[in-house]
Symmetry: C2
Subunit: 241 residues, 2 copies
DNA sequence: CGAGAGCTTGAGTTATGTCAATTCGTGTGG
DNA sequence: CCACACGAATTGACATAACTCAAGCTCTCG
Protein backbone atom coordinates (compact mmCIF):
# COMPACT_ATOMS: atom_id res chain seq x y z
CA UNK A 1 0.00 0.00 0.00
CA UNK A 2 1.34 3.37 -0.92
CA UNK A 3 2.41 5.55 1.96
CA UNK A 4 4.65 8.36 0.95
CA UNK A 5 5.59 7.92 -2.66
CA UNK A 6 7.45 10.44 -4.78
CA UNK A 7 5.77 11.22 -8.05
CA UNK A 8 8.25 10.97 -10.85
CA UNK A 9 6.27 10.54 -14.00
CA UNK A 10 4.81 13.96 -14.54
CA UNK A 11 6.64 17.23 -14.72
CA UNK A 12 5.72 19.63 -11.98
CA UNK A 13 5.80 23.24 -12.94
CA UNK A 14 3.82 26.00 -11.28
CA UNK A 15 3.66 27.83 -14.59
CA UNK A 16 1.61 25.09 -16.20
CA UNK A 17 -0.23 23.80 -13.16
CA UNK A 18 -3.99 24.00 -13.18
CA UNK A 19 -4.02 24.91 -9.51
CA UNK A 20 -2.18 28.16 -10.04
CA UNK A 21 -5.24 30.28 -9.47
CA UNK A 22 -5.77 28.94 -5.97
CA UNK A 23 -2.37 27.66 -4.89
CA UNK A 24 0.84 29.26 -3.72
CA UNK A 25 1.06 31.64 -6.71
CA UNK A 26 -2.45 32.95 -6.09
CA UNK A 27 -2.61 36.61 -6.88
CA UNK A 28 0.89 36.84 -8.29
CA UNK A 29 1.30 38.44 -11.70
CA UNK A 30 1.52 35.86 -14.48
CA UNK A 31 4.94 37.11 -15.47
CA UNK A 32 6.23 36.17 -12.03
CA UNK A 33 4.49 32.83 -11.89
CA UNK A 34 6.31 31.85 -15.04
CA UNK A 35 9.57 32.05 -13.13
CA UNK A 36 8.54 29.66 -10.39
CA UNK A 37 9.40 26.48 -12.21
CA UNK A 38 12.41 25.73 -10.03
CA UNK A 39 10.25 25.88 -6.94
CA UNK A 40 8.71 22.43 -6.96
CA UNK A 41 11.13 19.61 -7.58
CA UNK A 42 9.18 16.86 -5.98
CA UNK A 43 5.66 15.67 -5.42
CA UNK A 44 4.37 13.10 -2.99
CA UNK A 45 1.38 10.84 -2.86
CA UNK A 46 0.02 10.14 0.60
CA UNK A 47 -2.42 7.32 1.19
CA UNK A 48 -5.55 7.87 3.21
CA UNK A 49 -4.78 7.82 6.90
CA UNK A 50 -1.06 8.19 6.42
CA UNK A 51 0.92 11.13 7.82
CA UNK A 52 2.48 13.75 5.59
CA UNK A 53 4.66 14.71 8.50
CA UNK A 54 4.74 14.02 12.21
CA UNK A 55 4.88 16.39 15.12
CA UNK A 56 8.46 16.84 16.26
CA UNK A 57 10.14 15.84 13.02
CA UNK A 58 12.37 18.34 11.28
CA UNK A 59 11.00 20.66 8.67
CA UNK A 60 12.71 21.95 5.58
CA UNK A 61 9.78 22.30 3.22
CA UNK A 62 6.22 23.41 2.85
CA UNK A 63 3.57 21.32 1.18
CA UNK A 64 1.06 22.54 -1.29
CA UNK A 65 -1.93 20.27 -1.52
CA UNK A 66 -2.74 19.30 -5.10
CA UNK A 67 -5.45 16.71 -4.66
CA UNK A 68 -7.19 15.18 -1.70
CA UNK A 69 -7.56 16.62 1.76
CA UNK A 70 -5.41 16.79 4.85
CA UNK A 71 -5.97 17.50 8.52
CA UNK A 72 -3.44 19.02 10.88
CA UNK A 73 -3.50 18.35 14.58
CA UNK A 74 -1.44 19.05 17.65
CA UNK A 75 -0.96 16.53 20.40
CA UNK A 76 -0.88 17.06 24.12
CA UNK A 77 1.35 15.23 26.53
CA UNK A 78 -1.76 13.34 27.58
CA UNK A 79 -2.24 11.97 24.11
CA UNK A 80 -5.30 14.09 23.55
CA UNK A 81 -5.20 15.82 20.20
CA UNK A 82 -6.74 18.94 18.73
CA UNK A 83 -7.36 19.33 15.03
CA UNK A 84 -6.16 22.77 14.00
CA UNK A 85 -7.15 22.75 10.38
CA UNK A 86 -8.65 20.92 7.42
CA UNK A 87 -6.84 21.62 4.17
CA UNK A 88 -8.22 21.48 0.66
CA UNK A 89 -6.42 21.50 -2.70
CA UNK A 90 -4.44 24.68 -3.26
CA UNK A 91 -3.86 25.27 0.42
CA UNK A 92 -0.45 25.20 2.08
CA UNK A 93 0.30 22.74 4.84
CA UNK A 94 3.18 23.05 7.26
CA UNK A 95 3.30 26.79 7.88
CA UNK A 96 3.52 26.29 11.60
CA UNK A 97 6.75 24.85 12.84
CA UNK A 98 9.01 27.09 10.79
CA UNK A 99 9.98 28.71 14.05
CA UNK A 100 12.46 26.16 15.26
CA UNK A 101 12.61 23.89 12.26
CA UNK A 102 10.42 21.31 13.93
CA UNK A 103 6.88 20.53 12.94
CA UNK A 104 4.65 21.58 15.78
CA UNK A 105 1.78 19.57 14.37
CA UNK A 106 1.06 16.27 12.66
CA UNK A 107 -0.62 16.26 9.26
CA UNK A 108 -2.61 13.29 8.07
CA UNK A 109 -4.23 12.59 4.73
CA UNK A 110 -8.00 12.21 5.04
CA UNK A 111 -8.12 10.57 1.61
CA UNK A 112 -5.49 9.61 -0.93
CA UNK A 113 -3.74 12.89 -1.58
CA UNK A 114 -0.96 14.46 -3.52
CA UNK A 115 1.24 17.36 -2.47
CA UNK A 116 3.90 19.50 -4.07
CA UNK A 117 7.02 19.75 -1.96
CA UNK A 118 8.37 23.29 -1.72
CA UNK A 119 11.79 23.33 -0.08
CA UNK A 120 12.53 26.37 2.04
CA UNK A 121 15.96 26.59 0.44
CA UNK A 122 14.34 26.75 -2.95
CA UNK A 123 12.05 29.52 -1.79
CA UNK A 124 15.11 31.51 -0.80
CA UNK A 125 16.84 30.67 -4.05
CA UNK A 126 13.92 31.50 -6.31
CA UNK A 127 12.96 34.65 -4.45
CA UNK A 128 16.29 36.15 -5.44
CA UNK A 129 14.94 36.57 -8.94
CA UNK A 130 11.26 36.60 -8.05
CA UNK A 131 11.14 39.09 -5.22
CA UNK A 132 7.37 38.92 -4.89
CA UNK A 133 7.68 35.30 -3.81
CA UNK A 134 8.70 36.44 -0.35
CA UNK A 135 5.61 38.59 -0.17
CA UNK A 136 3.57 35.65 -1.27
CA UNK A 137 4.89 33.44 1.51
CA UNK A 138 4.24 36.21 4.02
CA UNK A 139 0.74 36.63 2.69
CA UNK A 140 -0.03 32.95 2.97
CA UNK A 141 1.33 32.76 6.50
CA UNK A 142 -0.62 35.82 7.43
CA UNK A 143 -3.74 34.26 6.02
CA UNK A 144 -3.15 31.18 8.11
CA UNK A 145 -2.90 33.36 11.20
CA UNK A 146 -6.11 35.15 10.34
CA UNK A 147 -7.80 31.82 9.67
CA UNK A 148 -6.90 30.42 13.04
CA UNK A 149 -8.10 33.62 14.65
CA UNK A 150 -11.46 33.03 13.04
CA UNK A 151 -11.58 29.57 14.56
CA UNK A 152 -10.63 31.14 17.87
CA UNK A 153 -13.62 33.41 17.52
CA UNK A 154 -15.84 30.42 16.89
CA UNK A 155 -14.53 28.41 19.83
CA UNK A 156 -14.40 31.37 22.14
CA UNK A 157 -17.71 33.03 21.58
CA UNK A 158 -20.13 30.95 19.54
CA UNK A 159 -22.67 28.41 20.63
CA UNK A 160 -22.55 24.95 19.12
CA UNK A 161 -25.04 25.58 16.34
CA UNK A 162 -23.24 28.75 15.32
CA UNK A 163 -19.93 26.94 15.21
CA UNK A 164 -21.28 24.24 12.95
CA UNK A 165 -23.01 26.78 10.74
CA UNK A 166 -19.78 28.76 10.44
CA UNK A 167 -17.95 25.54 9.63
CA UNK A 168 -20.37 24.64 6.85
CA UNK A 169 -20.28 28.14 5.39
CA UNK A 170 -16.50 28.13 5.40
CA UNK A 171 -16.30 24.73 3.76
CA UNK A 172 -18.87 25.75 1.20
CA UNK A 173 -16.95 28.87 0.26
CA UNK A 174 -13.62 27.13 -0.06
CA UNK A 175 -15.12 24.40 -2.21
CA UNK A 176 -16.78 27.03 -4.38
CA UNK A 177 -13.39 28.70 -4.87
CA UNK A 178 -12.15 25.37 -6.20
CA UNK A 179 -14.96 25.25 -8.72
CA UNK A 180 -17.12 22.76 -6.87
CA UNK A 181 -20.72 23.26 -5.89
CA UNK A 182 -21.13 25.48 -2.86
CA UNK A 183 -24.33 23.71 -1.88
CA UNK A 184 -23.68 20.02 -2.58
CA UNK A 185 -20.60 18.35 -1.29
CA UNK A 186 -19.10 15.43 0.53
CA UNK A 187 -17.38 16.13 3.80
CA UNK A 188 -14.14 14.26 4.03
CA UNK A 189 -14.13 14.38 7.82
CA UNK A 190 -16.25 12.37 10.22
CA UNK A 191 -18.45 13.60 13.06
CA UNK A 192 -15.73 13.07 15.61
CA UNK A 193 -13.22 15.08 13.60
CA UNK A 194 -15.68 17.92 13.12
CA UNK A 195 -16.45 17.85 16.83
CA UNK A 196 -12.81 17.86 17.78
CA UNK A 197 -12.12 20.80 15.47
CA UNK A 198 -15.08 22.79 16.79
CA UNK A 199 -14.63 21.93 20.45
CA UNK A 200 -17.78 19.79 20.57
CA UNK A 201 -18.54 16.11 21.01
CA UNK A 202 -19.47 13.93 18.07
CA UNK A 203 -22.94 13.47 19.57
CA UNK A 204 -23.54 17.19 19.63
CA UNK A 205 -22.39 17.49 16.03
CA UNK A 206 -24.67 14.66 15.00
CA UNK A 207 -27.64 16.19 16.80
CA UNK A 208 -26.97 19.52 15.16
CA UNK A 209 -26.90 18.00 11.69
CA UNK A 210 -30.20 16.33 12.48
CA UNK A 211 -31.65 19.57 13.76
CA UNK A 212 -30.48 21.57 10.78
CA UNK A 213 -32.02 18.92 8.56
CA UNK A 214 -35.29 18.94 10.49
CA UNK A 215 -35.40 22.73 10.17
CA UNK A 216 -34.93 22.45 6.43
CA UNK A 217 -31.61 24.27 6.45
CA UNK A 218 -29.64 21.36 5.03
CA UNK A 219 -30.14 17.86 3.83
CA UNK A 220 -27.65 15.41 5.23
CA UNK A 221 -26.91 11.82 4.48
CA UNK A 222 -23.84 10.59 6.27
CA UNK A 223 -21.05 12.79 4.93
CA UNK A 224 -23.06 14.06 2.03
CA UNK A 225 -24.34 17.59 2.56
CA UNK A 226 -26.81 19.67 0.62
CA UNK A 227 -27.27 23.21 1.80
CA UNK A 228 -30.88 24.20 1.25
CA UNK A 229 -30.99 27.54 3.01
CA UNK A 230 -27.67 29.34 3.00
CA UNK A 231 -29.34 32.48 4.30
CA UNK A 232 -30.45 30.64 7.41
CA UNK A 233 -26.89 29.48 8.05
CA UNK A 234 -25.59 33.02 7.69
CA UNK A 235 -28.37 34.24 9.91
CA UNK A 236 -27.24 31.82 12.59
CA UNK A 237 -23.66 33.01 12.75
CA UNK A 238 -24.45 36.65 12.08
CA UNK A 239 -26.81 37.12 14.95
CA UNK A 240 -25.22 35.85 18.11
CA UNK A 241 -25.81 37.29 21.60
CA UNK B 1 -3.57 63.22 26.23
CA UNK B 2 -1.11 61.35 24.12
CA UNK B 3 -2.61 58.98 21.64
CA UNK B 4 -0.28 57.96 18.90
CA UNK B 5 2.82 60.03 19.21
CA UNK B 6 6.01 59.48 17.23
CA UNK B 7 9.11 59.29 19.34
CA UNK B 8 11.74 61.60 17.94
CA UNK B 9 14.16 62.24 20.76
CA UNK B 10 16.00 58.95 20.98
CA UNK B 11 17.75 57.09 18.23
CA UNK B 12 16.27 53.70 17.53
CA UNK B 13 18.70 51.06 16.44
CA UNK B 14 18.24 47.34 16.79
CA UNK B 15 21.97 46.92 17.21
CA UNK B 16 22.01 48.88 20.45
CA UNK B 17 18.53 48.06 21.70
CA UNK B 18 18.26 46.26 25.00
CA UNK B 19 15.36 44.21 23.72
CA UNK B 20 17.45 42.49 21.06
CA UNK B 21 17.54 39.20 22.89
CA UNK B 22 13.76 38.85 22.89
CA UNK B 23 12.58 41.02 20.01
CA UNK B 24 12.57 40.65 16.25
CA UNK B 25 16.29 39.84 16.04
CA UNK B 26 15.95 37.01 18.55
CA UNK B 27 18.24 34.18 17.61
CA UNK B 28 19.95 36.01 14.78
CA UNK B 29 23.74 36.06 14.78
CA UNK B 30 25.12 39.28 16.27
CA UNK B 31 26.90 40.08 13.04
CA UNK B 32 23.56 40.20 11.27
CA UNK B 33 21.79 42.16 13.96
CA UNK B 34 24.38 44.88 13.54
CA UNK B 35 23.09 45.45 10.04
CA UNK B 36 19.50 46.01 11.05
CA UNK B 37 19.84 49.68 11.88
CA UNK B 38 17.86 50.84 8.87
CA UNK B 39 14.96 48.68 9.89
CA UNK B 40 13.30 50.87 12.49
CA UNK B 41 12.91 54.49 11.48
CA UNK B 42 10.06 55.34 13.75
CA UNK B 43 8.70 54.62 17.19
CA UNK B 44 5.27 55.32 18.57
CA UNK B 45 3.85 55.84 21.99
CA UNK B 46 0.32 54.62 22.52
CA UNK B 47 -1.67 55.69 25.54
CA UNK B 48 -3.57 53.15 27.59
CA UNK B 49 -6.83 52.24 25.92
CA UNK B 50 -5.85 53.73 22.57
CA UNK B 51 -5.61 51.66 19.39
CA UNK B 52 -2.32 50.96 17.69
CA UNK B 53 -4.31 50.09 14.60
CA UNK B 54 -7.90 49.40 13.76
CA UNK B 55 -9.47 46.46 12.00
CA UNK B 56 -9.93 47.24 8.32
CA UNK B 57 -7.29 49.95 8.06
CA UNK B 58 -4.41 49.47 5.67
CA UNK B 59 -1.22 47.86 6.77
CA UNK B 60 2.30 48.62 5.65
CA UNK B 61 4.26 47.88 8.79
CA UNK B 62 4.69 45.52 11.70
CA UNK B 63 5.02 46.70 15.26
CA UNK B 64 7.50 45.46 17.75
CA UNK B 65 6.41 46.13 21.30
CA UNK B 66 9.12 47.86 23.34
CA UNK B 67 7.32 48.64 26.54
CA UNK B 68 3.81 48.12 27.84
CA UNK B 69 1.30 45.55 26.71
CA UNK B 70 -1.17 45.26 23.88
CA UNK B 71 -4.19 43.13 23.13
CA UNK B 72 -5.39 42.15 19.67
CA UNK B 73 -9.00 41.38 18.95
CA UNK B 74 -11.22 40.62 16.00
CA UNK B 75 -14.73 41.95 15.70
CA UNK B 76 -17.81 40.26 14.41
CA UNK B 77 -20.53 41.88 12.42
CA UNK B 78 -22.64 41.75 15.56
CA UNK B 79 -20.15 43.90 17.43
CA UNK B 80 -19.05 40.99 19.56
CA UNK B 81 -15.30 40.78 19.81
CA UNK B 82 -12.80 38.03 20.49
CA UNK B 83 -9.38 38.74 21.94
CA UNK B 84 -6.84 36.77 19.93
CA UNK B 85 -3.71 37.62 21.83
CA UNK B 86 -2.01 39.53 24.62
CA UNK B 87 1.39 40.88 23.65
CA UNK B 88 4.34 41.60 25.90
CA UNK B 89 7.54 43.56 25.20
CA UNK B 90 9.64 41.98 22.46
CA UNK B 91 6.65 40.46 20.72
CA UNK B 92 5.49 41.42 17.24
CA UNK B 93 2.02 42.82 16.70
CA UNK B 94 0.29 42.96 13.33
CA UNK B 95 1.36 39.69 11.74
CA UNK B 96 -2.16 38.89 10.71
CA UNK B 97 -3.59 41.07 8.00
CA UNK B 98 -0.54 40.89 5.75
CA UNK B 99 -2.65 38.85 3.40
CA UNK B 100 -4.58 41.61 1.74
CA UNK B 101 -2.86 44.62 3.21
CA UNK B 102 -5.69 45.21 5.65
CA UNK B 103 -5.50 44.67 9.36
CA UNK B 104 -7.83 41.83 10.20
CA UNK B 105 -7.74 42.74 13.86
CA UNK B 106 -7.72 45.76 16.14
CA UNK B 107 -4.85 46.25 18.57
CA UNK B 108 -5.28 48.25 21.72
CA UNK B 109 -2.75 49.30 24.35
CA UNK B 110 -3.57 47.87 27.76
CA UNK B 111 -1.24 50.37 29.38
CA UNK B 112 0.89 53.20 28.07
CA UNK B 113 3.08 51.46 25.53
CA UNK B 114 5.78 52.06 23.01
CA UNK B 115 6.31 50.25 19.73
CA UNK B 116 8.97 50.21 17.05
CA UNK B 117 7.50 50.60 13.58
CA UNK B 118 8.96 48.17 11.06
CA UNK B 119 7.87 49.05 7.54
CA UNK B 120 7.36 46.10 5.22
CA UNK B 121 9.24 47.97 2.52
CA UNK B 122 12.18 48.34 4.84
CA UNK B 123 12.12 44.64 5.59
CA UNK B 124 12.40 43.96 1.88
CA UNK B 125 15.13 46.55 1.53
CA UNK B 126 17.20 45.39 4.47
CA UNK B 127 16.80 41.72 3.71
CA UNK B 128 18.69 42.27 0.48
CA UNK B 129 21.88 42.55 2.47
CA UNK B 130 20.69 40.62 5.53
CA UNK B 131 19.20 37.49 3.99
CA UNK B 132 18.46 35.89 7.33
CA UNK B 133 15.97 38.66 8.03
CA UNK B 134 13.46 36.93 5.77
CA UNK B 135 13.92 33.74 7.72
CA UNK B 136 13.42 35.67 10.88
CA UNK B 137 10.11 37.11 9.72
CA UNK B 138 8.99 33.66 8.64
CA UNK B 139 10.00 32.23 11.98
CA UNK B 140 8.07 34.84 13.89
CA UNK B 141 4.97 34.36 11.78
CA UNK B 142 5.26 30.65 12.19
CA UNK B 143 5.53 31.10 15.92
CA UNK B 144 2.38 33.17 15.90
CA UNK B 145 0.58 30.38 14.07
CA UNK B 146 1.80 27.80 16.54
CA UNK B 147 0.78 30.06 19.41
CA UNK B 148 -2.76 30.43 18.17
CA UNK B 149 -2.93 26.68 17.67
CA UNK B 150 -2.09 26.28 21.34
CA UNK B 151 -4.97 28.58 22.24
CA UNK B 152 -7.15 26.52 19.93
CA UNK B 153 -6.17 23.46 21.90
CA UNK B 154 -7.14 25.20 25.12
CA UNK B 155 -10.49 26.40 23.84
CA UNK B 156 -11.28 23.18 22.06
CA UNK B 157 -10.40 20.58 24.59
CA UNK B 158 -9.71 21.98 28.05
CA UNK B 159 -12.04 22.61 30.91
CA UNK B 160 -12.19 26.06 32.43
CA UNK B 161 -9.71 25.43 35.21
CA UNK B 162 -7.23 23.94 32.76
CA UNK B 163 -7.55 26.91 30.46
CA UNK B 164 -6.84 29.35 33.24
CA UNK B 165 -3.95 27.28 34.51
CA UNK B 166 -2.48 27.14 31.00
CA UNK B 167 -2.96 30.87 30.71
CA UNK B 168 -1.11 31.56 33.95
CA UNK B 169 1.72 29.20 33.05
CA UNK B 170 2.12 30.83 29.67
CA UNK B 171 2.13 34.32 31.14
CA UNK B 172 4.59 33.26 33.78
CA UNK B 173 6.99 31.83 31.21
CA UNK B 174 6.86 34.83 28.94
CA UNK B 175 7.46 37.19 31.83
CA UNK B 176 10.36 35.06 32.98
CA UNK B 177 11.88 35.31 29.49
CA UNK B 178 11.76 39.07 29.93
CA UNK B 179 13.67 38.83 33.16
CA UNK B 180 10.72 39.31 35.48
CA UNK B 181 9.67 37.00 38.24
CA UNK B 182 7.87 33.92 37.01
CA UNK B 183 5.89 33.67 40.22
CA UNK B 184 4.99 37.23 41.14
CA UNK B 185 3.45 39.52 38.61
CA UNK B 186 0.70 41.94 37.80
CA UNK B 187 -1.75 40.95 35.09
CA UNK B 188 -2.42 43.83 32.80
CA UNK B 189 -5.75 42.41 31.70
CA UNK B 190 -8.99 42.34 33.66
CA UNK B 191 -11.24 39.39 34.42
CA UNK B 192 -13.47 40.11 31.48
CA UNK B 193 -10.54 40.22 29.06
CA UNK B 194 -9.15 36.97 30.39
CA UNK B 195 -12.57 35.40 30.09
CA UNK B 196 -13.04 36.64 26.57
CA UNK B 197 -9.64 35.30 25.55
CA UNK B 198 -10.27 31.90 27.15
CA UNK B 199 -13.87 31.54 26.03
CA UNK B 200 -15.24 31.92 29.56
CA UNK B 201 -17.29 34.51 31.41
CA UNK B 202 -15.70 36.91 33.83
CA UNK B 203 -17.61 35.28 36.68
CA UNK B 204 -16.12 31.90 35.89
CA UNK B 205 -12.65 33.40 35.76
CA UNK B 206 -13.19 35.14 39.06
CA UNK B 207 -14.45 31.96 40.70
CA UNK B 208 -11.48 30.04 39.38
CA UNK B 209 -9.03 32.56 40.80
CA UNK B 210 -10.80 32.24 44.13
CA UNK B 211 -10.71 28.47 43.95
CA UNK B 212 -7.03 28.34 43.00
CA UNK B 213 -6.34 30.66 45.92
CA UNK B 214 -8.41 28.55 48.31
CA UNK B 215 -6.51 25.47 47.17
CA UNK B 216 -3.23 27.21 47.87
CA UNK B 217 -2.10 27.12 44.26
CA UNK B 218 -1.88 30.90 43.90
CA UNK B 219 -2.36 34.01 45.93
CA UNK B 220 -4.42 36.62 44.15
CA UNK B 221 -5.24 40.18 44.97
CA UNK B 222 -7.02 41.90 42.15
CA UNK B 223 -4.57 41.76 39.24
CA UNK B 224 -1.64 40.85 41.42
CA UNK B 225 -0.71 37.18 41.17
CA UNK B 226 1.65 35.05 43.18
CA UNK B 227 2.07 31.51 42.02
CA UNK B 228 2.61 29.32 45.06
CA UNK B 229 2.46 25.88 43.49
CA UNK B 230 3.61 25.82 39.89
CA UNK B 231 3.62 22.04 39.93
CA UNK B 232 -0.08 21.99 40.72
CA UNK B 233 -0.78 24.27 37.76
CA UNK B 234 1.22 22.04 35.45
CA UNK B 235 -0.55 19.04 36.88
CA UNK B 236 -3.86 20.61 36.02
CA UNK B 237 -3.11 21.10 32.34
CA UNK B 238 -1.00 18.01 31.95
CA UNK B 239 -3.53 15.50 33.16
CA UNK B 240 -6.82 16.06 31.42
CA UNK B 241 -9.28 13.31 30.50
C1' DC C 1 -15.19 61.65 49.93
C1' DG C 2 -18.16 60.00 46.41
C1' DA C 3 -18.91 57.57 42.12
C1' DG C 4 -17.95 54.25 38.97
C1' DA C 5 -15.58 50.42 37.32
C1' DG C 6 -13.94 46.07 38.42
C1' DC C 7 -14.30 42.06 41.16
C1' DT C 8 -16.51 38.52 44.09
C1' DT C 9 -20.06 35.45 45.44
C1' DG C 10 -24.59 33.16 45.44
C1' DA C 11 -28.75 30.90 43.40
C1' DG C 12 -30.92 29.04 39.66
C1' DT C 13 -30.86 27.80 34.55
C1' DT C 14 -29.24 25.68 30.46
C1' DA C 15 -26.34 24.14 26.86
C1' DT C 16 -23.47 20.64 26.17
C1' DG C 17 -21.21 16.48 27.74
C1' DT C 18 -21.59 11.54 29.21
C1' DC C 19 -23.23 7.05 28.95
C1' DA C 20 -25.75 3.74 26.60
C1' DA C 21 -28.67 1.54 23.26
C1' DT C 22 -29.91 1.25 18.32
C1' DT C 23 -29.46 1.83 13.50
C1' DC C 24 -27.03 2.35 9.35
C1' DG C 25 -23.48 1.43 5.96
C1' DT C 26 -19.66 -0.86 4.16
C1' DG C 27 -16.50 -4.19 3.41
C1' DT C 28 -15.13 -9.26 4.23
C1' DG C 29 -15.12 -14.00 4.31
C1' DG C 30 -17.68 -18.21 4.19
C1' DC D 1 -24.22 -13.79 -2.85
C1' DC D 2 -25.44 -13.51 1.66
C1' DA D 3 -24.52 -12.83 6.32
C1' DC D 4 -21.76 -11.13 9.50
C1' DA D 5 -18.93 -7.82 11.75
C1' DC D 6 -17.15 -3.54 12.45
C1' DG D 7 -16.92 1.34 12.46
C1' DA D 8 -19.71 5.45 11.97
C1' DA D 9 -23.79 7.88 12.98
C1' DT D 10 -28.08 8.62 15.38
C1' DT D 11 -30.99 9.13 19.29
C1' DG D 12 -32.42 9.13 24.13
C1' DA D 13 -31.97 9.87 29.15
C1' DC D 14 -29.44 11.91 32.48
C1' DA D 15 -25.54 14.59 34.65
C1' DT D 16 -22.93 18.69 35.14
C1' DA D 17 -19.86 22.47 33.95
C1' DA D 18 -20.37 26.81 32.85
C1' DC D 19 -23.57 30.69 32.04
C1' DT D 20 -26.97 34.19 33.56
C1' DC D 21 -28.85 37.19 36.64
C1' DA D 22 -28.41 39.64 40.72
C1' DA D 23 -26.56 41.54 44.89
C1' DG D 24 -22.84 43.26 47.41
C1' DC D 25 -18.11 44.43 47.95
C1' DT D 26 -13.59 46.94 47.00
C1' DC D 27 -10.58 49.38 44.87
C1' DT D 28 -9.23 53.59 42.25
C1' DC D 29 -9.42 57.98 40.71
C1' DG D 30 -11.28 62.41 40.19
Amino acid sequence: MLKRVPVTSESTHCSTCMMGSVCLPVGMPASEVAKLDELVKERLRIAKGQPLFLHGTSLDALFSLRTGSIKSQIVEASGHHQITGFYLPGEIVGLDGMFDGMHSSTSIAMEDSEVCVVKLDDIDEVSRYVPTLQHQVRRLMSKEIARSHQVLLALGSMRSEQRLAAFLINLSQRLAALGYSSTDFIMRMGREEIGNYLGLTLETVSRLFSRFARDGVIRVNQREIKILDMAALNELVGKPC
